[in-house]
């Protein structure tokens, strides 16, 4: 019996020491400059944005755009294949992000058309035959779904790289909500929010294209040599206003190289000492680029960023693996642009849905008031328990302190984030958590009143209340779980605190508290209980 108690005491003590070391000691060490081993520092309780200050952004990936790009590419490939096969059709038009429409297929070429169309599209698109040589091609639902998912994943990874390049410490970039196309970006300590937002959402689709005509002041001038019409395999692109160029260029639709062929991009200067972006290409990119430049010496090469010509330079000789984007840029623009190019293009544009910016001073205020409320709450509850339950109140207070230490330790250990609502959960865990002790003590009092011995009363008190405790804790866990599901950021922190507080409360109020009773009463067999 005695040995049993010693083991229980040791277990309780070990639990306390471990959780104290993980959850409480690092905070004290930081505050009072005590030595802190690195393996402990690594597990520290993290502070949420609402306490630390920073910006919280929710953005939506416009996945329709990614699908539209793919549908456009597919329809262009079909056009190319038909031309190669010598079949001329009336028109090929993209009707929606997931479908395109073909008209005027000659009746005698119908069989050849369907064979080529199936070749080009059948894995991804369903073909519907209409009247009079018209066809509708619609992306298969599972293909569309996969593509949307890929677009969101790719966007998340790109944002992740960009944020890392920005040098933000401990950012959080994750999928958000149930709609599967929203991304949450949390940047602690960022003050230039406008710049961060701009860098994150820049689509950065880079294409290098051979210029067929231009630059020209107006579109009419540009198309003079082409009878006023844009040839099928070419397109008109305007110069970039940011680079101070408003003229028009007629370029080939097919790009010589794209952003995917980039190996690196960095800020540099051009021959006039103006800021510029220097880039280098991958082996495959260099091969394509060398071929395209070698065949087009003397022509202009347009560097197209997000469908705007940011610069166009004469190709003097075959270029293999390096190039430069010039224009009237500021140093900041060049730094940001090379960052964006380095980190890859976004598959689709992003829309900001929500922005929450917490200044460092507001965060500090929240910490201060949260800590004050916790201390006042603790004092009130402890004072009440001691006055009402006398010496047994000490037992309850020890259990309460255990509970809080385990709560902090577990949160630190699993890497949970402490938010202001989390602190509220902490305070409530104290106030509502002592309920377990109140229930047990109340039962012990009843048993004592029913003329049982102290030891039997304590045993009966604990064992009879255990089922009740289990029921109340499970019911609370149910509502906390739904809260966790529903919430984000701060609310999640709150739900997390509640859940962990409930679990550790069950342990401290039954095991720890009972062990204490047994240990104290072990020596004095029939002492009256101070309760």
């Amino acid at each position: 019996m005695k040995k049993n108690i010693r083991w229980k005491l040791l277990t309780s003590l070990a639990v306390f020491v471990i959780f104290f070391a993980v959850g409480v000691y690092p905070i004290l060490a930081q505050r009072y400059h005590l030595p802190l081993p690195s393996w402990l520092a690594a597990k520290q309780l993290k502070l949420g944005l609402d306490l630390k200050g920073g910006v919280h952004l929710v953005l939506r990936v416009e996945t329709d755009e990614a699908l539209k790009i793919h549908t456009t590419t597919t329809s262009e490939q079909l056009r190319e294949a038909l031309r190669t096969a010598g079949i001329s059709v009336g028109s090929i038009k993209v009707a929606s992000p997931t479908s395109f429409h073909v008209e005027g297929v000659p009746q005698d070429k119908d069989a050849a058309f369907t064979r080529i169309a199936d070749d080009q599209t059948t894995t991804e698109y369903d073909r519907n035959t209409g009247v009079g040589g018209t066809y509708d091609f619609t992306m298969k639902p599972n293909v569309a779904l996969t593509m949307r998912e890929q677009a969101v994943t790719q966007a998340r990874e790109t944002i992740d790289r960009r944020v890392n390049e920005l040098g933000v410490a401990e950012p959080n970039i994750s999928l958000y909500g149930q709609s599967n196309n929203e991304i949450l970006v949390q940047l602690p300590g960022v003050t230039d929010v406008a710049r961060a937002k701009e860098i994150i959402r820049n689509t950065a689709i880079l294409e290098l294209k051979i210029v067929e005509a231009g630059p020209a002041g107006t579109q009419e001038q540009l198309l003079q040599g082409y009878g006023g019409k844009v040839p099928d395999d070419m397109e008109v692109i305007q110069g970039s206003a940011a680079a101070g160029d408003t003229s028009f260029y007629l370029v080939r639709k097919a790009a010589a190289v794209t952003g995917q062929d980039l190996r690196n991009a960095k800020a540099t200067i051009d021959e006039n000492n103006r800021p510029a972006v220097g880039f280098s290409l991958t082996n495959e990119g260099a091969r394509k680029f060398g071929k395209a430049t070698g065949e087009n010496i003397g022509r202009l090469l347009a560097i197209v960023l997000d469908h705007r010509v940011s610069s166009a330079a004469r190709i003097e000789s075959k270029i293999n693996d390096e190039g430069r984007i010039t224009g009237s840029f500021t140093t900041q623009q060049v730094t940001d642009m090379s960052l964006i190019l380095r980190t890859g293009a976004l598959p689709a544009s992003l829309t900001y849905l929500q922005q929450h910016e917490i200044g460092a001073s507001l965060g500090a205020d929240s910490i201060r008031s949260g800590v004050t409320a916790s201390l006042v709450g603790l004092l009130l509850v402890v004072g009440f328990m001691l006055i009402y339950y006398k010496l047994s109140g000490v037992n309850a207070v020890v259990a309460l302190v255990f509970n809080l230490v385990i709560l902090l330790g577990l949160m630190a250990y699993i890497g949970a984030t402490m938010t202001l609502p989390g602190i509220a959960g902490f305070v409530l865990t104290m106030g509502i958590g002592v309920d377990s002790n109140v229930l047990i003590f109340g039962r012990i009092k009843e048993e004592l009143a029913a003329q049982r011995g102290v030891r039997q009363a304590i045993n009966a008190g604990f064992s009879r209340v255990f089922l009740t405790l289990l029921d109340t804790h499970v019911a609370s866990l149910i509502s906390a779980a739904f809260l966790f599901q529903f919430g984000t950021g701060p609310i999640r922190g709150f739900a997390m605190t509640l859940v962990i507080g409930l679990i550790s409360n069950l342990f401290t109020s039954t095991f720890v508290s009972k062990t204490l009773f047994e240990a104290v009463l072990g020596q004095r067999q029939t002492a009256a209980l101070s309760i």
């Binding site: 149930q178 922005q355 409320a373 916790s374 106030g431 019911a475 809260l483």
Partner: protein, 331 residues
């Protein structure tokens, strides 16, 4: 020290009075919500909130309103302008209902306009301390999710209690919890607190707390049913409520103490949260004593009477004895 020496109140005697009182509060609350509306926090309504901190003694709110009105005609009048945090913090919260274009970087346009308007009007040197901008789509989405989370957690609790106890208890517990939700909403409407994410979190916590309270009483009822088979449910419930009374009051007391600490010292952000908790703890305690137990007794009595009526010939009316609802074991 003991507050209650196991009292002997006839709590159930007051059940119809209690139910009436609750209806009065709930209906008054619904009327208040219907006429004045429930103020929604910016997370739910969408909009722009800017918190500015002044370096010196800040101007009167009317000065800020005029400054906004001058640069953003029409919007200054509709803006909510409040002191934020303690006096010494010298902060104002300015809230305008809409955001900039949702597309792209324009989201923060409105916030920038507010700051510019104040700078232009020369109201004293200040700096923006924080902004919160919520596009309309997010607000809608959150509203839906908030309702869903509340309903699902109620259903979860109903199922759990029905599984652990019996159905009439589950009905009592859920009616009590829905009652607490409605009363809490009524008080939010009376005191004009914004319904924010934090408040929803507090409401869900109250759901858990109120159910806890109810479960403790029901647990005692279940235990007493085993020991007191001769007595009827009415007496058993009354005795159980009395036996758990000491615990009920003390727990409500400590919970209230901690919620009060949050209300007084937790700062501006937690104000609505702490208020909701305080209301919820009071109504949750009240409802587990007066509503949950009463509904369980009423439900079971009715159910038994219905059972009798269908078992016997429908013409003979069953004796109406809420006080003596048979002796079947309830567990």
């Amino acid at each position: 020290m003991q507050i209650f020496k196991t009292p002997h109140f006839d709590f159930l005697r007051w059940r119809w009075f209690a139910i009436g009182l609750s209806w009065v509060i709930i209906i008054a609350g619904l009327v208040a919500i219907k006429t004045k509306g429930l103020p929604l926090g910016v997370e739910f309504s969408g909009g722009t909130v800017v918190i500015v901190q002044f370096d010196q003694q800040p101007p009167d709110s009317s000065v800020i309103r005029n400054a906004l009105e001058r640069s953003m005609p029409g919007e200054g009048q509709n803006a909510v302008i409040q002191r934020y945090g303690p006096e010494a913090a010298r902060q104002y919260m300015i809230r305008v209902p809409d955001v900039g274009e949702e597309a792209g970087a324009e989201l923060s346009q409105k916030a920038e306009k507010v700051v510019d308007a104040l700078k232009k009007a020369n109201v004293g040197s200040f700096k923006p301390a924080g902004t919160e901008i919520v596009g309309p789509a997010v607000g809608q989405d959150l509203r839906r999710k908030g309702i869903l989370a509340t309903v699902l957690s109620l259903v979860g609790i109903l199922l759990y209690i029905a599984f652990r106890f019996q159905f009439s208890f589950a009905v009592g517990a859920v009616v009590a919890t829905v009652h607490d939700l409605l009363v809490t909403f009524a008080f939010l409407a009376f005191f004009r607190y914004d319904l924010s994410l934090n408040v929803i979190a507090a409401i869900l916590t109250v759901t858990g707390y109120s159910t806890n309270d109810t479960i403790v009483i029901f647990d005692r009822v279940r235990e007493n049913i085993r020991g007191m088979r001769r007595d009827n449910l009415y007496d058993i419930v009354n005795k159980s409520v009395n036996q758990t009374m000491g615990r009920t009051v003390i727990t409500a007391g400590t919970a209230l103490l901690s919620a009060l600490a949050l209300f007084l010292f937790g700062g501006e952000v937690l104000h609505g949260f702490a208020f909701t908790m305080i209301v919820g703890i009071v109504t949750g305690t009240y409802s587990s004593v007066f509503i949950a137990a009463a509904i369980a007794v009423i439900w079971q009595t009715r159910a038994r009477r219905m059972g009798k009526m269908s078992a016997q010939s429908p013409a003979t009316s069953a004796p109406s004895n809420t006080r003596k609802p048979g002796r079947r074991r309830a567990s």
